[in-house]
Symmetry: C2
Subunit: 358 residues, 2 copies
Amino acid sequence: MNNTPNHGQPPKSPSPAASTASTAPPTSTAVARHAGVSRATVSYVLNGLAAGRVSAATQDKVRAAAEELGYVPHAAARSLRSGSSGIVLIAVPADTVPAFGPLFASFLAGFQTELQSYGYTGVLHGASTGTSALETARTWAELRPAVVMALFGSPLTEQSVALLRRAGTSAVLSYGPPPAPGAHGIAMDHEEAGAVAAAHLLSAGRRAIGVVTPTEPGLEMFSGPRLAGVRAAAAAFPGARVEPLPLDHTEESAAELASRWGRLGLDSTFAYNDEYAMLLMRALQDAGVDIPGETAVVGADDLLLGRLLRPRLTSVRLELPTPAEVAALVDRLIREPETEPVVHFGSSARIVERESSR
Amino acid sequence: MNNTPNHGQPPKSPSPAASTASTAPPTSTAVARHAGVSRATVSYVLNGLAAGRVSAATQDKVRAAAEELGYVPHAAARSLRSGSSGIVLIAVPADTVPAFGPLFASFLAGFQTELQSYGYTGVLHGASTGTSALETARTWAELRPAVVMALFGSPLTEQSVALLRRAGTSAVLSYGPPPAPGAHGIAMDHEEAGAVAAAHLLSAGRRAIGVVTPTEPGLEMFSGPRLAGVRAAAAAFPGARVEPLPLDHTEESAAELASRWGRLGLDSTFAYNDEYAMLLMRALQDAGVDIPGETAVVGADDLLLGRLLRPRLTSVRLELPTPAEVAALVDRLIREPETEPVVHFGSSARIVERESSR
DNA sequence: TTGAAAGCGATACCAC
DNA sequence: GTGGTATCGCTTTCAA
C-alpha cells in the first residue's frame, strides 16, 4: 500500500491532461461574465438573497446564464468562506458493517434523507479499524464536519474527541456504545435487552442460560453488556446459572458447540441476534436436541427470519430511536455547540414471545 | 421539510457563539507563528517536500508545533488550491439499501479501505430517490468528486453524467445496471444468473419454472434481467414454461402465493435471492408442498442461510469483482480521465447444488 | 441596483 | 535554506 506522507492527496497524475472533456468547470465568475454582471450579483441571486437588491430582469439573466453553463457551486470554496461545511460525518467501522442487519440499514437510509431536509450533507465514512483512533479522527477532522456521529465500534477516545472539537466540530455523537469523555451519546440499552431475555427465560422456569457471544470483531461492545444484563437478572434467582458461549458465524462452529451441548447442561439460550439463533438452533436440532423442550432459544432483533423458523423464534426487540429524532438532535447540537455532553437513551427492549421458548 | 433555496447551507445559528469550546481551529499560519517560521515552510515540511529545502532542526520545530496545536489541514482549502478533492463518491440509493445483503456490505467495507490506500477518500452518499437525477447530480457535483460511482439504482442519466463531467469529475462509474451514456460501467450479468439457474433446473428435467420477482422498489433492475435470462434458457427447451411470481418480503404474501401453488402447476422456482427463497420455501412447506419432490427451489447469493435450511438450498452464486479490482479501476480512471467509457463485466455466475433442487 | 475588494486556508513559484 | 505572495471559488461588507 502506498503510504507516503502526502496527507491524503491522490498520487499526482503523470499525464496532466485537462481534468475533463473540454473546459474547466464553470465558476461564478464565468456566470457573471456570461450574464454581464458582477460575481457579487451572481452570488446574491443564486442564494436567494436578491430580494430588493437585484432587479427581476437581472435575476433572470443570471439564472439563465448559470443554467446554460451548467454551473454548480463549489462546496469546498463555500465552506472555506462560510466557515462551516454542513457535513454530518457518519462513521461506520468498515469491518463490522457486514454484521449489521437490515434494521440498521433502514435507519441509515432514513437518517440521511432526514439530514438532507435540514440542509446538512450526510456523509458515510467507513473507518478501517486497522488505524488508531487519533489517526482516524485526523482524517475526519480534515473535512471539518459539523458533527461526527460515530457508530458502534468506530474508534473514539477522549483524545480523538478533543481533536475533533478543536477542529471545529460542534459535537461528537456516539451511537451505540457509551460515549468517550466529551462526546454525546445515543446509547442502546443492551443490558436491558439481556435482562429482558433472561427475565423471560427465568420466569418460564429455566435456570441454566447460555449466552451466545459472537467472536466477530467489533461485536463485543454489544454482546458484553447483553451478557451482563443476563447475569444481573439471573443473580436475583437462586440457583440460576449463566454460561457464555463464544460462536463464530459458521456452521462448523455451531456444530462444534452443539456436539458438546449435553455436557454444558443448559436448558436455555439467548443468542446474539436472530441469525445466530438460527445458526445455533439448526445445529442443535441436527444434534437431536429438542427445542424448546430440552433447550429454549431466544434471539434478538425480531427479524422476519425468526418467524420462518420452526419452532418460531422468540426474540428480543430493541426499539431504536427514529431517524427523525436523531436528526433533530444533530441539528440542535449544531446550533448549540456548547451543550453539555449527555447520553440519550435511545432504546427500550421488549420480548416477542413465540414457540422457541415455550 | 425546510426547502428554502439556500443551496445546502445549514440554517444559520441564532447564537453566533464561537463554533467550538475555546479557540478557532489552528491553521497553518498558527503553526508557522508557533514555530517561528513562514507558512510556506510549514507547508513544505508537513507535506514531505522539505528534502534539501528546510533544515532538520526547522523541520522538527514545525512538526512539534503542529503536534502541540493539534493542527489538522483543512481539506476544503487544500482541495480548492489543488483543484482536486480526492473524493470518490459512492452513491447508494437510500431506499434500496436495506435490501442489499451482507455480500454487498462486505464489498463496500473492503472497497473503502482499498481507496484509502490509494490516497482517496471514499465517501458514501445515500441518494434519496425522491429527487431527480439532475438534482441529485448537482448535489454530488458540489463536492467536486474525482469519481462518482453510482451503485445499482442510483439515478443516472446522460444529462446528469454530463453535468458531473463538466464539474470536473474524471469519470462516472455505474455499478450494477448498464451505464448511462458517457458513464463507465461495471455490469453484473444478471441474465447469466438466470440462465445458469434455469439450465440447472431444465437439465434436471423441470419444465415449468416460476421466477420470484420482488415487489420492493429498486430491485426490478436485477429481477428483470434474471427473468429474461431464465426465459432465454427456457426457450431452447420445447415445452418449457416460465412464470413470473411477484412477491412481497412478507409472510402474508408468501402464504398467499403458496395457497394457489397447485393451480400454478409449477415444478420449480428460481427465487430472487436466498432470503426470498427461504420465505417461499417455508410457505410452500407449510402448505404441504414437498421440496424438492413437487417443486425444486433455487436461490441466489449463496448465503449461510441457505445451508441452514432443510432441505439445504441450491443457490446461484454471482462472483463479484473484488474491492481491489474496482479500486484499481477507479485509480486508473482518475489518472486517465479521457478513457473512453466502457463496460467491464464484473461477474460470472455458477450454481451451488444442494438438496432443494435434487 | 450594482460592483469592488477583502479574506477563508493551503500551496508552490520565485526571489532573497 | 527560507520567506513573500498570487491564487483557487465563493460570500459579504461597504461604497458608489
